[in-house]
Symmetry: C2
């Protein structure tokens, strides 16, 4: 029995990957997990990652105005520590968000405990917490375990690590890739958690990606800035932005690749491609595990004034409860897509609009497509994966986002989350 099977309430998403990814060890990164008993019983809820000396890090975070204490902590570390990282402590069951001064003190206590156990400065300890908002974090339940965990780390525990930080997730989310930098093969491993409160920018989503490549912090920053846009910042489950969203990219520097000084370096081209693939893979795993999700919905918008406008239109469609419930019911209700385009506020000409469900052209030039076939349109929205394409036919702007349908499962899960 795996960790995620322990929640009998929520069956594994029908959209889960068919088999779990096995991640190879990554030189310079090791993990330990523990049962701190923060909220859950009989399951792990604490993860410690220890990184080799010289590890660099970059991060992107929620834009929420009510961000959690760990988010504030990580931002301060990046500022003070200039991208040096030695440890990462993540707990589930409590988000340490909206916990005031106590929350900050709790974060600090955890970081100091980990710094002592690992032998580094507190500014090299990164933190994340996920779970209920507003409950004081019982920091001592974490600190009293940290010393023991620090002595028990193993590079083989990616799976155990991600299982410890799951909340309403129904399966652990992992991804891996190999890339070449100047002839040297490097590994990219990633884990993430997230299922509800998912919206750009970013998602209730914690993602930790590591590589054994040697890369300076500013290169990591540039790589993340480019990579987060079309991946984690292009997914939405419920339009609700979390207080805790955190995406960290660590580089342990153990691979022995030639030095890279800029993200634009041509030696990084392959790495960048593979990194972006890992980020997208993880992001899509989050949508596939969207609370109550029965279908993965991809929305492509083309012909907008510009890319930003296209993305706003795509998100208006992706966040429309009426579109999402229709898809849940296998209803090819393209009129609701028209509605969502109309409400986006972006420039749109009703009489140019073209909409496809899968390959089926359903609407064209302001009305139902002449060869519209209800049976084919219904079939196009009846599978596990649905593609909606909107062409505004006004300009060259385009965007692609992903969401899931809105089902009874979502109402079930979120009407009783805390109980």
């Amino acid at each position: 029995m795996t960790q995620h099977d322990r929640s009998p309430k929520h069956a594994v998403s029908p959209l889960a990957p068919k088999r779990f990814r096995r991640l190879p060890p990554l030189a310079g990164a090791a993990f330990a997990v523990g049962e701190a008993g923060i909220r859950y019983r009989s399951r792990t809820d604490l993860m410690l990652a220890v990184f080799a000396p010289g590890t660099k890090v970059a991060g992107v975070f929620t834009k929420s105005k009510t961000a959690s204490a760990p988010v504030d902590w990580c931002k301060a570390c990046l500022e003070v520590g200039k991208g040096a990282a030695r440890a990462l402590v993540v707990n589930s069951g409590n988000a340490n968000a909206f916990t005031g001064r106590t929350g900050w003190e709790g974060a600090e206590a955890v970081a100091l405990g980990a710094a002592e156990a690992v032998g580094c400065g507190p500014e090299e300890v990164f933190l994340a917490s996920t779970g209920v908002i507003g409950e004081p974090l019982p920091a001592e339940k974490i600190t009293r375990l940290i010393g023991r965990l620090a002595k028990a780390t193993s590079p083989r525990r990616w799976r155990e690590a991600v299982e410890a930080i799951m909340t309403t997730d129904t399966y652990p989310k992992l991804a891996t890739a190999k890339a070449k930098i100047g002839g040297k093969t490097v590994v990219i491993n990633g884990m993430c958690k997230g299922s509800g409160m998912i919206a750009p920018d970013m998602a209730t989503m914690l993602a930790f990606v590591a590589t054994d490549a040697k890369l300076p912090a500013r290169v990591l920053r540039d790589l993340l800035a480019d990579g987060a846009g079309p991946s984690f910042n292009s997914i939405t489950v419920d339009s609700d932005t979390s207080t805790s969203d955190t995406l960290l990219l660590f580089a342990t520097g153990q691979a022995g690749n030639p030095p890279v000084r800029s993200a634009a370096d041509r030696h990084l081209k392959h790495f960048r491609k593979k990194l972006n693939a890992v980020l997208l893979d993880l992001a899509l795993q989050v949508v596939r595990d969207g609370e109550g999700a029965g279908k993965l919905i991809r929305i492509d918008v083309a012909g907008a004034e510009n890319d930003a406008a296209a993305k706003r239109v795509a998100l208006a469609v992706a966040n429309s409860p009426l579109v999402k419930t229709a898809i849940a019911g296998n209803d090819a209700n393209w009129g609701r897509v028209v509605m969502a385009v109309g409400k986006s506020g972006e420039m749109a000409d009703r009489d140019r609009l073209r909409i496809r469900f899968g390959r089926e052209l359903v609407a064209d030039r302001g009305e139902r497509a002449p060869r519209y076939d209800e049976a084919k349109a219904t079939k196009a929205v009846s599978g596990l994966e649905v593609e909606i394409a909107v062409d505004l036919r006004l300009g060259r702007g385009k965007a692609r986002v992903w969401t899931c349908d809105l089902t009874h499962g979502y109402v079930d899960i979120n009407g009783s989350y805390r109980s």
Copy 2:
């Protein structure tokens, strides 16, 4: 058995007014209804209102970029006819939205038919349609009935009229008031329909309000501009803006009140108050009938930078699926209110924020309130009406909006609307 009982699928909302309002006749306005068979069987789906010569009108409409043909038609009439109105034709079952040139031609055909039957210009005929988007409107089913309806109007058919335009509504929505203008008593009667696709500005919502007062079109325009903001533009069911939203205010001029030249006229003070009460009453009836609604939720935001910012924060809370599902489950999950404030993008200081559920202070100065009592907080969200108050404690901006909870009923209704 009343009209709205004919949909066995959807029981009458638990939030419906305890008894239906009886509207007094209003001099200069008469109604007839018919069964055109546009989509529904064995129920009325067509309503004709005929107004006395000299009737003036003003309107506000959806801001959707994909507005329906009847919305385009009404806007053109207001432009061409300078606020003169003699008839209103409304059908249910088909929204005549995203129907291209055919849609416009259908609207024109209906208006011409009504103009001939009533004896007026087509620019004095106002139109609205509600129902499925994207299906061509079978205009001839309407036009062939119009002549008969025009001969059968009665000032006593407000209830029948509103029943003919219901779609997923579970009860007919009516409101009435009396007001004094310069010592003369005038009547204000209103009807509306709307249940889903409800969001400012405005709602999938058709509302028709009439008074027997004599008021110029520009005064009606100013009154509506003021009155729509705190009523119809302050409600949201699902954040989805309709292609068809229409609010029309007719003044038949039969009451014999002294002339009024400006909306600021002191003789209008009482009338304005009563009109706003009718608009708010109708708007709240829409939320109370929100698809699947089990609770009416009022959200007050105070202490924002300004009123517009307060409204955006209030709507972020009102449109959050996580807040709405929590309330549905009697879960006093105030952390989700924090999240929604954070995602609004408006200025907020986590460490000043204060949140109440009903009278219960649940969060204060960036953390859980010291005297927080889970049982009392739960009780505050367990009734049919829930009040959430957020004080940002930054400025003087405030706003009040209403929404409903997000339930299994919403998913049921919208996963099978067209079937």
